[in-house]
């Protein structure tokens, strides 16, 4: 009798197919280049200077994307302990530990998804931006030592209220300083016009991705946070290319049609939730099902919005990149973050806040300085904090978390 309700069904977004193709093309292109040496490959942190790398002729690979795949496929559970045993603490970024552990094990989930790919593409250069955290640099430095590949990057500011001219100037100069080293590795001369073109394409991608996410403000919402964690793929790995923009030009009309027709991503949407923090990659499906069965749509998130770079400006590429990558949510102070989430809560008409306290990602666990309590009081809606992790499921108690989520929704429903 209990829980014999009709099983909830997922409403598939048709553009997911083309999204998967872009991801496949991305990995096959890198694989071919790594095997043939036809193109130089740069590894880049997820919100690193991808536009500059692309403009200088590199194919760009994002280890954090690989980290997310390790998490989603739960391969991370086998690979994290390998890095732990090599001296990389279970307390540090589990993208780092799962990825380094996978390399040490000689394994990649890409080989399961993409026939013919047996390893991640070897880099010619590793380029970081510490705007997210210090871990990305430590991560790349491991590969630099292991593969004897140069590791260069940008040391960013952190916890800033709002970026000011000295911040921008410092980051912009560091971006410019990368050019000579990159020219040497790529063998190509820096071309400002090409750089402007890539920044322009990336800005367009950012605008399209923002428009996509903004669809979640419709009632009912045509997409969920869980959809967005998949649909964001092109904005992450292919920003600065026409292909990424073409994909979002295809996706947006589909979502617009849903809004026009009143088609909900979650059947009978009753409650609307904001998700702060990292996804729990290995539990995306389960969490998505839980929310679906509770007729609750996670309509907005901090995480997916992290690939909106509205400050990019093709006419002023260095400074605008510096600003875009310094004004990111993750770089900002708690008060700036709170203001940002408050705006999202109003725009998306949320009924409650869910904070994911990811054990190994302090930079993106925004519950730790009283924000859930402050936001709940400000909006008069409940908040809940789930203890978990992006990749290390040893740090996630499913039973307890589901109980918390169900109680949270009960509380919203009783209001």
């Amino acid at each position: 009798m209990a829980d014999e309700k009709k099983k909830p069904t997922f409403r598939k977004i048709e553009a997911t197919g083309p999204c998967k193709k872009i991801m496949a093309d991305h990995f096959y292109e890198l694989d071919e280049a790594a095997k043939s040496g036809s193109r130089k490959i740069a590894w880049c942190t997820s919100v690193g200077p991808a536009e500059l790398l692309r403009a200088m002729g590199f194919l760009v690979y994002f280890p954090e994307n690989h980290g997310a795949i390790l998490g989603a496929t739960r391969v991370a559970l086998d690979t994290i302990p390998i890095a732990n045993a090599a001296g990389y603490s279970p307390e540090i970024c589990s993208y780092l530990t799962s990825d380094v552990g996978a390399y040490m094990k000689g394994e990649t989930p890409l080989s399961l998804a993409y026939k013919g790919i047996t390893e991640v593409p070897k880099p010619d250069v590793l380029v970081y931006n510490t705007n997210q955290c210090r871990d990305v640099k430590d991560w790349f430095m491991w590969y630099s030592r292991e593969l004897d590949v140069p590791c260069i990057g940008i040391e960013s500011f952190c916890n800033i209220e709002v970026s000011r001219e000295p911040h921008i100037a410092a980051v912009s100069q560091q971006l410019k300083d990368l050019v000579p080293a990159l020219e040497k590795i790529s063998g190509e001369k820096f071309d400002l016009d090409r750089f402007k073109e890539v920044v322009g394409l990336s800005r367009r991608c950012s605008d399209l991705w923002e428009e996509t996410l903004q669809m979640g403000a419709a009632v009912p919402s045509p997409l969920t946070f869980f959809d967005s964690t998949i649909l964001m793929g092109p904005a992450v790995v292919a920003r600065g290319t026409q292909e990424a923009n073409d994909f979002y030009e295809l996706l947006i009309p589909e979502l617009k049609q849903r809004v026009k027709d009143g088609v909900a991503a979650v059947d009978g949407e009753k409650h609307r939730i904001y998700w702060d923090g990292m996804p729990i990659w290995g539990k995306l499906r389960d969490l998505s099902t839980t929310f679906l069965s509770l007729q609750t749509c996670v309509v907005a998130s901090t995480y997916c919005n992290s690939w909106v770079f509205s400050d990019l400006d093709a006419d002023n590429p260095f400074d605008s990149m510096a600003k875009a990558y310094t004004d990111l949510f993750i770089v900002r102070s708690d008060s700036a973050k709170e203001e940002y989430i408050s705006k999202m809560a109003r725009d998306f008409k949320v009924d409650g806040f869910l904070f994911h306290d990811a054990k190994t990602c302090p930079s993106n666990s925004n519950n730790r300085y009283g924000m859930p309590e402050r936001l709940a009081a400000k909006f008069g809606v409940p908040s809940v904090t789930i203890a978990g992790d992006l990749n290390d499921l040893r740090l996630y108690s499913e039973e307890q978390s589901i109980t918390q989520i169900e109680a949270f929704i009960e509380q919203i429903a009783e209001k």
């Binding site: 209990a2 203890a387 740090l395 307890q400 109980t403 109680a407 509380q411 009783e414």
Partner: protein
């Protein structure tokens, strides 16, 4: 025509509790079984016992609501509610005012805040680890080779204050070995363990207004109530059967649902 009955089944990590009420919400019977590994069997046995004590049969129970960690395993339940909702409802049945409920269970703790109308304002659960729960006390009792049922009486004989600082249950056990080496008495360590539970609970959330403690730990170890009151400098109330508070809440929800 015989009165209709309604049941709440609270399948916790340690014990499964059943409360049967009549249509007015008056308790007709209660039963408890260890949850063990078979939640279905434990809940069925407890329900049969409670039904027998209420002078009825399972067939005459109009609606069954299950709660607790094993709520989804109770295949004969009509619906489920979280233990947060049920503890709140069960406590409010006895104390009709704004309150903070502190529930100390076998493997988790909850702090639930209610408004004057019994509406839930907020809740917190302990993080993943079992610090401050019944499992922590069981581990300490095991380490000291003391029967858990004797811990309360033993702690009451304490004369010296012994502090257990470790957050982690495993580290606390190591700390106890160290205390034993230093000559600490078992009775003082027992009280230190109860004090540690209180510390872990009060750091979960602020405690305001009327404080009501529920759950198996306070039911079997009332010293926790005294230590909590001493620590926070505030009276701590408890319903008549604190371990059955969640099952009572579930039964009251069953009345609501069954009457619709």
């Amino acid at each position: 025509m015989a009165d209709k009955f309604y049941a709440g089944v609270d399948v916790g990590s340690s014990a499964t509790k059943v409360v049967i009420v009549d249509g007015s919400g008056t308790v007709a019977s209660m039963a408890l079984e260890l949850s063990g590994m078979d939640f279905v069997a434990a809940s069925k046995t407890a329900l049969e016992k409670a039904a027998k004590d209420a002078g009825t049969s399972i067939d005459n129970i109009a609606h069954i609501t299950s709660s607790g960690y094993g709520r989804k395993n109770v295949e004969f339940a009509n619906d489920t509610k979280t233990e947060i909702a049920c503890h709140a409802r069960g406590a409010y049945q006895y104390f009709r005012e704004a309150m903070t409920i502190v529930d100390i269970g076998g493997q988790d703790n909850k702090i639930i805040k209610l408004g004057p109308d019994g509406n839930r304002l907020d809740f917190k659960m302990n993080r993943k680890c079992a610090a401050g729960t019944g499992a922590f006390l069981e581990e300490i009792a095991l380490r000291m080779n003391v029967d858990m049922s004797k811990m309360d009486a033993l702690a009451r004989k304490s004369e010296e204050v012994v502090t257990i600082s470790s957050f982690c249950t495993v580290f606390a056990a190591t700390e106890i070995l160290s205390l034993v080496r230093q000559g600490a008495q078992t009775r003082d360590i027992a009280k230190g363990a109860f004090r540690s539970v209180v510390k872990r609970v009060i750091e979960m959330d602020s405690l305001a207004g009327t404080i009501v403690a529920t759950g198996g730990v306070v039911s079997h170890n009332p010293i926790v109530l005294e230590l909590m009151a001493e620590t926070i400098g505030h009276e701590v109330l408890t319903p008549p059967e604190p371990q059955f508070s969640g099952a009572l809440g579930a039964a009251l929800y069953a009345v609501d649902e069954g009457r619709q």
